[in-house]
């Protein structure tokens, strides 16, 4: 019998076939037979999801909950091979990637229906799913890196999908280049892993001796920070919103940007023994969370708000990773994938209805027209705000309580404030887009069923996903603890008893719920009851508002320091190198060439030419007696001719 677990390679194969089909269509069909692409590509991802689900079901019956398949060898001395590693962690990832990936593919069928490059879009999207599956299913760092670069490539291709638009092409390049900075760290980390452990297989790097791995952990973190848009490498993600909205939902919210979180969770054995690196991860995560949330408060582009929200939520995940609560980070990754994908798809639905309008200031009163979009986005906004009952509450509360338990009050406070900011900016978005004055064109309409169904499915996920990870002190049946129970074989502390007073846990929970409610209420007060207040706040806090609106001037700083500073300063250095070393070398060579030329000229003039001139002179000398004959006079020639004739006749006559 064919077991899904034995044929794990089928999971990434499906989207690869889909990508091949769609890209061939893009090249040869040139816009014809769209239906073939719209059925085949989402279908392949669905098949992959079904196969993944079957494999995970089978895996749950295995006692060790680890399944490794080696397909072929690649770099044997490094322990790098074409191998698939399925454990509870990668199981969660493949279900997210294929499940949410399928919903977003389905949504794209409706959303992209009128765009040119339809087949190219689906080819890239399927290719992305393939590489993402390679990334999470790899059994060693080298193969993970291959997937890592592959998703970066697809991200680049899809951000720059509207390549005729200058901003989109530039954003694609920016994403690619900023990611390279982090990837350099990851690549160095892989070399260092091999140097330290003699292998780069995940399964072989479990018991890491304490000490001496901090640099390694920091290099891994550099890679993760690049991919997951953590400060200071966050600048590419907001610009990546130039891509089509479903791409933002899949790549830049639900899956690819969480690859950094996955990488650190996968390397938990290394981070676990390096408190310094972990502290840095937590600090960067907390800083990123509040930094991006503050920017999100004032952005006017609906997708930019969501992009900064994504950065902020990723910051939460890194905060959890840094405090050693790896399973909590993955749990937040899991719930975040639902509600953030839903928020992006809802935003896409709004943009679709308004013919490409993305500015929140020009929206309003969409609640009546876009009923389903409003209802589903409402659920997502409740979920992300951390209001008790929906997905975001459980995971965010778990992060905050872990931060508190780790003993860092500063991290906890930053997390709590960020939770309030999150609630505020999300409900600001809801109020500006859906409530308030009606300024909607009459023809605004919901999308086709392919766009509505994913919204509803993700809304269900956003409502329910949190209920499989409720806190321990609720003393619920095992079903409500399914997530920690499932992932416990990888992260043992998922089942740890709460260390402190259970009453403290309730207080923390109450605090985060209260902060969320305050944020929501404030947003309602500002944008519903007193619509003039945000404006007057902007006036009185103009410098701060300006700083936030310009995203803390990070882009300008990079422009000044790296792009023009380094490029120009480096240019000057290169120019000196050029004039000094390169030109010197060239000039030296030229001098040598000229010297040898002069020698060869002397040889030519005096030896070779001399010989030839001498020969010519002899010939000239010999020619003097002969040249008298040829004097150019007609009659002397005629005389010679006549004499010749006479001579010939004489011979003829007298020889007889």
């Amino acid at each position: 019998m064919v077991s899904a677990l034995d044929q794990l390679w089928m999971i990434p194969l499906f989207p690869l076939v889909g990508a091949a089909e769609a890209l061939l269509m893009a090249i040869f069909a040139r816009g014809r037979w769209k239906r073939a692409v719209s059925v085949f590509c989402p279908g392949m991802v669905l098949l992959s999801f079904v196969w993944s689900a079957a494999a995970v079901m089978t895996l749950s019956h295995e006692p060790a909950r680890v399944h490794q398949v080696i397909l072929a060898s690649w770099l044997p001395p490094m322990g790098a091979e074409w191998g698939i590693y399925l454990d509870p962690l990668s199981a969660v990832m493949i279900l997210i990637v294929t499940g949410i990936g399928f919903l977003i593919h389905l949504y794209s069928v409706g959303y992209m229906a009128h765009e040119s490059g339809y087949a190219r879009y689906f080819g890239c999207l399927n290719l992305f799913v393939f590489f993402m599956l390679v990334l999470v299913l790899a059994n060693n760092y080298a193969l993970l890196f291959a997937g890592w670069e592959g998703v970066g490539l697809c991200s680049y291709l899809l951000i720059g999908f509207f390549y005729r638009k200058h901003a989109a092409a530039a954003a694609g390049m920016k994403a690619f280049i900023v990611n390279r900075v982090g990837d350099a760290g990851l690549l160095l980390a892989i070399f260092m892993l091999f140097a330290t452990f003699g292998t780069i297989r995940f399964a072989d790097i479990v018991n890491v001796p304490a000490g001496g791995v901090t640099v390694l952990a920091l290099l891994l973190f550099a890679g993760a920070a690049g991919k997951s848009a953590q400060v200071p490498l966050h600048v590419w993600l907001p610009d990546a919103m130039e891509g089509p909205t479903p791409v933002s939902a899949l790549i830049h919210a639900a899956t690819m940007v969480t690859a950094g979180v996955y990488l650190i969770a996968r390397s938990s054995a290394i981070f676990g023994v390096s408190p310094e690196a972990s502290a840095l991860v937590a600090a960067v995560g907390a800083f990123t969370a509040i930094f991006a949330a503050m920017i999100a408060l004032v952005q006017n582009d609906i997708k930019k708000v969501l992009a900064y929200s994504t950065i902020s939520q990723l910051g939460y995940m890194f905060l959890a990773l840094g405090t050693g609560a790896w399973w909590v980070a993955i749990f937040h990754l899991f719930t975040h994938a639902f509600f953030k994908a839903l928020l992006f798809l809802g935003a896409g639905s709004v943009i679709h209805a308004l013919d490409g309008e993305q500015d929140l200031r020009r929206m309003g009163g969409l609640k009546k027209t876009l009923t389903i979009t409003h209802a589903t986005m409402f659920i997502a906004a409740v979920a992300i705000s951390g209001i008790p009952g929906l997905a975001g509450f459980f995971s965010k509360d778990a992060i905050l309580s872990e931060a508190f338990r780790a003993g860092s009050t500063a991290l906890y406070v930053v997390g709590l404030v960020t939770a309030g900011l999150t609630a505020f900016y999300m409900w600001r978005l809801m109020h500006l887009a859906f409530y308030g004055k009606k300024s909607v064109p009459i023809h605004a309409h919901e999308g086709p069923w392919t766009m509505r169904v994913p919204l509803i499915a993700l809304a269900a996920g956003s409502s329910l996903a949190g209920w499989i990870g409720v806190p321990e002190q609720w003393h619920t049946p095992a079903l409500f603890r399914a997530f920690p129970l499932w992932i416990a074989p990888v992260f043992h502390q998922a089942l740890r008893e709460p260390a402190g007073d259970p009453r403290m846990e309730w207080i923390l929970m109450g605090a985060s719920a209260a902060v969320a409610l305050v944020g929501v209420t404030l947003a309602r007060y500002f944008y519903h009851h007193r619509p003039a207040m945000p404006g007057s706040f902007e006036q009185s806090l103009r410098p701060l508002h300006g700083i936030l609106l310009n995203k803390w001037y990070v882009d300008e700083f990079y422009e000044r320091v790296f792009v023009s500073g380094l490029a120009k300063g480096g240019g000057r250095l290169l120019s000196r190198f050029d004039t000094g070393v390169v030109d010197g070398g060239v000039n030296g060579t030229a001098w040598l060439t000229r010297l040898s030329g002069r020698i060869s000229k002397w040889w030519d003039e005096w030896v070779l030419d001399g010989g030839i001139t001498l020969g010519a002179y002899f010939v000239k000398l010999l020619s003097y007696p002969v040249r008298v004959l040829q004097n150019g006079h007609l009659q002397s020639y005629a005389l010679v001719f006549a004499m010749g004739m006479v001579a010939l006749f004489s011979v003829y006559v007298f020889s007889r």
């Binding site: 040829q630 150019g632 006079h633 007609l634 009659q635 005629a638 006549a642």
Partner: protein, 102 residues
């Protein structure tokens, strides 16, 4: 009076040929040289006709006609060259022109 025989004609022809050759070789003016060439050609014509009459065959006379036509053409070309020479070199004297060398 002795009859005129082929031998007489051949004698005339030989005399004309020698006068012509001497003219070509010794006269300075190219005009005279060209006239001398005509003499040589006519010597040949007399020769041909003498033999034609002797052997009762018209082939020689036809040949002579061709030679007359040829002489006309040759004289035209020769005078053309002469005029070109005069225009370029301001002379019609053969010994003042020595272009035919290396």
């Amino acid at each position: 009076m002795a009859p005129i025989t082929t031998g007489h004609y051949l004698g005339l022809s030989a005399a004309l040929l020698l006068i012509g050759v001497a003219g070509v070789l010794t006269r300075r003016s190219i005009v005279v040289v060209l006239m001398s060439i005509e003499l040589i050609l006519n010597a040949v014509n007399i020769n041909l006709i003498a033999f034609s009459s002797n052997s009762q065959n018209v082939r020689g006379q036809i040949f002579a006609m061709f030679i007359i036509a040829d002489a006309v053409a040759e004289a035209a070309v020769g005078l053309g060259i002469l005029i070109a020479l005069f225009r370029n070199k301001d002379t019609v004297l053969a010994d003042e022109v020595d272009l035919l060398k290396w």
